[in-house]
Amino acid sequence: MNFIRLLQGTPQPDVDLTRTYDAIVIGSGAAGGMAAHVLTSQGMKVLMLEAGKKLVVDKELKSMEWPYDHPRRGAMPPGHHALSLNEYTIRQPPYAEGLKYTNVYSYVQGWNGADYSKNIVVNEKEHPYTGTNYAWVRARGLGGKTNIWGRLALRLSDYDFKAKSHDGYGEDWPISYADIAPYYDRVDQYLGISGVKENLPFLPDSIFQRPTRLAAAEVTLRNSLKRMNRVLTPYRAGVTTDGLKHNKYRSRCFGRGACNRRVGGCDIHAAFDSPTGLIYPAQDTGNLTLRTNSIAREILVDGNTGKARGVTFVDAENGRAYEARGKVIVLAASTLESARLMLLSKSSAHPNGVGNSSNHVGHNFCEHVMGPGITGLVKERVGKEKTIDDGRPGGFYIPRFRNISDKNPTFIRAYGFEGSSGSHMFPNHVHSTPGFGAAYKKTVRDNQGAYISMGGFGEVLPRYENYVDLDPATTDRWGVPVLRFHYKFGDNEKKMCEDMAAAAQEMFELAGFEIVKVEREMLTEGWSIHELGTARMGTDPKTSVLNQFQQSHDVKNLFVVDGSSHVSASCQNPTWTIMALAWRSCDYLVSEFKKGNL
């Protein structure tokens, strides 16, 4: 089909390691891709280092392949194993240790269609970590986790940026919504986002393209929630639904629904991914040099000036170490990998790791808590004619409603819900419907399309005592010391989750849905894949790592532009904020660079 773009960007030139690049960007996900875009479009010569391979994602995902056309109906081959919730609970990291499988993956590879994403995520056997339980999901490869992300693209508000002023806990961000709003606009317009304006002060609207539509039961819930002064809005998806004239690598969304049938990913690139959205266009400027299979090992510091001067990296294929030189270092390796690299970069000038005079690197680690959720049966939909309900990048989102004007007596901060209803290719109730025989078969058929479900995402408070450090005794396949987790949910998260389950039940009951199941248990730490906060911004160099432009307080030519910079987690998904912040900081970086201040 001629609207599927098969272009893969201009071939990368050979990497010249004798030259000094204007900037080295470490990581190629949402943050690294955005840094490459902003810096190269303003003329800076950039070297990007990506630890993983350059995959032709279009050939991996095979989005339209039917289950029965795959030898294992989309499942991985024998010997490939996805960790289960039970294993995360009864085992301790490193989870893959002692397992006899050839390949062990995080839990997302237990979802449908995992065979299509197994080359995008890491083999846990090569990438151990230690310490407390944590379901760490990692992608190595050009584009990182943006190749399979969940696409929910939300803005934060001053209820988040100024949360301490609101409830006294933690720290305010060193920016307010007004500082970042113009950059949210730019991200919206450059990458495309689908949604419906709701005029909510705690969930600012984006500049939306064509919205997705709601299934019948979702409209019922939306209307019912109005009586509670709550909102259900179509999934705000980081997906271009109208197309982008300025980007030849991406197609508009054709509602194929493949993104929801698989671990994720979009092989026509209607959903944002960093390679087609940011990196290939940056390569087209002629200013970006890309080196994949390059595992950053240490940020090098000049002993005299204390400034960063380059990066040593290990070639993932030949195991050899190389050194690249840059005038500015932009760290964008993901929240936990960036903290790891800073801690690995010890020198006489920075004995605790580069940029870590505050001893806050790795600390204030936060994310979203998941688990509580609900499934309901919509009786009016039972036995009705089947419709296409999953031909869209997402279902619905219910924004936060706690601790806005009221004050909850048991917990601070808030949570939102993601959910969907209607027909699916392989519906869950195939398994949950009891019995067998003609009655079972008819019930499954009649109930196809009649279920609605949703799950909560709650803000986890940043706490200094929740942190990662380097394990002195364990290294990964390339000999690099690994992270050790010291991280547990606290009382606020537990109280919030109790309320989440109760609120979900209340909302479904009011909407008239028959409650099928209420989930009350918290999932393992890490489940949301929204880890944040390990190198937070702030105004005080004693209690923060970065300033408001994600610039190291200690090393002025070091910027850390990924989720590690976030001061608090909010309950809204972080990707859009990561990119808006990175754009803002990189604009500042370019202007300082041009003034000779770095």
Binding site: R222, T233, R392, V430
Partner: protein, 178 residues
């Protein structure tokens, strides 16, 4: 034919017997001549059990039509976990013993009503299975419905799934104009 081992000949003979007993000669003929994992007797038993779990009706073919037993056989043949194979061998043997206990006949030789009684017995504690045969029912049903509802018959005919297609416009209710 001279290469056939004694065991193979016995399996062929048993298959013919089972096919006659189950009255499914034609359907069985469309299955692999030699299962990759199961014995022919086991395969015939699974084929019948799968059809009892998801039977053909006036709406669509059942598990037999969707070749569910062949799919399960292929997956178990390549199973990485030896215990998966053991669970299935022992599970089917358990049903066979149960059938003889309950009706005095092998599963293959028992009547439709007797087979239903056997399956009903092992399915009785589906929500909280304890006995080995109850645990096996959960595994049996899981594999059968996974295979059936991921087959073309299960997806398109039975559940009338209409997606996985290119849409010029999203389907549903547009609430942006409210």
């Amino acid at each position: 034919m001279e290469d056939l081992s004694r065991r193979d000949v016995m399996k062929l003979g048993a298959a013919a017997t089972v096919a006659t007993a189950l009255g499914v000669g034609e359907s069985l003929a469309s299955q692999p001549a030699t299962p990759a994992f199961f014995t022919t007797e086991e395969f015939a038993m699974l084929d019948e059990l799968s059809e009892m779990i998801v039977p053909a009706d006036d709406h669509s073919p059942g598990a037999r039509g969707a070749k569910v037993a062949a799919y399960i056989d292929a997956r178990l043949a390549e199973a990485f976990e030896e215990k998966d194979k053991v669970i299935w061998r022992e599970g089917l043997a358990h049903i066979e013993r149960l059938s003889r206990d309950m009706s005095g006949k092998s599963f293959a030789q028992s009547s439709a009503a007797e087979r239903l009684a056997t399956l009903t017995r092992i399915a009785r504690n589906e929500r909280a299975p304890k006995e080995p045969e109850e645990l096996f029912f959960v595994e049996l049903k899981r594999r059968v419905v996974d295979a059936y509802y991921s087959s073309e018959i299960g997806i398109k005919q039975e559940l009338e799934y209409k997606g996985n297609t290119y849409l010029a416009e999203f389907v549903g209710v547009d609430v942006s104009a409210e």
